[in-house]
Symmetry: none
Subunit: 242 residues, 2 copies
Amino acid sequence: MSLARIRIVLVEPQHPGNIGAVARAMKNMGLSSLVLVAPRAFPADEAIARAAGADDILACAQVVGSVAEAVAPCVQVLATSARLRKIPWPVADPEQAAHSLWAHAAAGQEVALLFGAERSGLANEDVDFAQGLVQIPVDPAFASLNLAAAVQVLCYEIRKQSLGPRPAVPDHEPAPQEELNGFLAHLEAVLIEIGFLNAAHPRKLMRRLVRLFRRATPDQNEIHILRGILTAVQTGRPPQNT
Amino acid sequence: MSLARIRIVLVEPQHPGNIGAVARAMKNMGLSSLVLVAPRAFPADEAIARAAGADDILACAQVVGSVAEAVAPCVQVLATSARLRKIPWPVADPEQAAHSLWAHAAAGQEVALLFGAERSGLANEDVDFAQGLVQIPVDPAFASLNLAAAVQVLCYEIRKQSLGPRPAVPDHEPAPQEELNGFLAHLEAVLIEIGFLNAAHPRKLMRRLVRLFRRATPDQNEIHILRGILTAVQTGRPPQNT
């Protein structure tokens, strides 16, 4: 499973609740490999509570003493960063980073994505282990992302890559034109019958209705309902009140 | 500011901490308009704590009693959903949804994105207010996203759109939801009058019609025409032939 080759590395996470929320975010997106570098408190009940069912990820999490150890087998390491660094690193956006990480993982290679501690982010010494930075396009006026939220955004982009080109989701199946046109002719006839359309000049108003119903792209079932309504108008009792 | 026209609507949120985390996620991505429908507990200290500095969003949040009220001025309403619905609605992925919401917002129109309660998600009655569904591509084996995480992903995609090339103006201007809903209520009343709908059980058929007309996104002129037809059915002569 290629997604398992993309490890999420949390460097010195301070709050066990965040570790749990990270596990949940990973599992939602199909990732499973979590590495903790010198966590302040782990294992912890609060982590399990916030994992909300992703405790298998916590149970399998590797705890290590250094970033070097965390990324040892990896061919690519990217570091998330909110700050601009004095030394200019190559900076990718989440989509570009996910594309690159996924390309390696799908080819059978191990890769890593580093996240810093909640308040301070990654130290320059940590970033030294990375080939490049990833920046989430936050509003500069309020740039401090929750740790799990940052992991969520990156894992979401990774999942999008893993699903490949966007599948065309046929939301519904529009009826063939002859059925739609049959309905429109029926509608016109009923509107003339009830005196809404002037039989001599039906065109302008009909054109607007035609445009509306073409835009709606009704399916066959909907056409049947609409024609049922028209028939009910034609054959129904006269209205009880006016 | 166009991002301010995209309102995040939380329907019956249960945990004030999540409301705070949602505010933080929104503010990170530059969004500011939060609407709460019948929150269980709000305002709340826990919300402020989890907002981590986004308390201005909480202070300005609108609290309303119904989804209808929450989306009244909006020309587009999309509903996030993890479940597949029995009646197939148009389903967008987050990128497609963000593209469409941003196009309207950038053109000066109000739009809304609905999120359901933590455990249960949106009820069908809530989804009835939407033109379509948005599904985040979660791992089906672990599909339950944290509420703030779901908001984070959608707001992130919206921000990406806002940073991208300005989209083309939508080709027509859909009517506000309150006008569309006024038409739908009128339609239901007429269908009961003419005996097409059973007044005791109007829901299933109405839901299909609601879906059809939301998909059509009628503009104000079209709503006037449609209501004119309904009035003609109510007041018109009985049909000459059957």
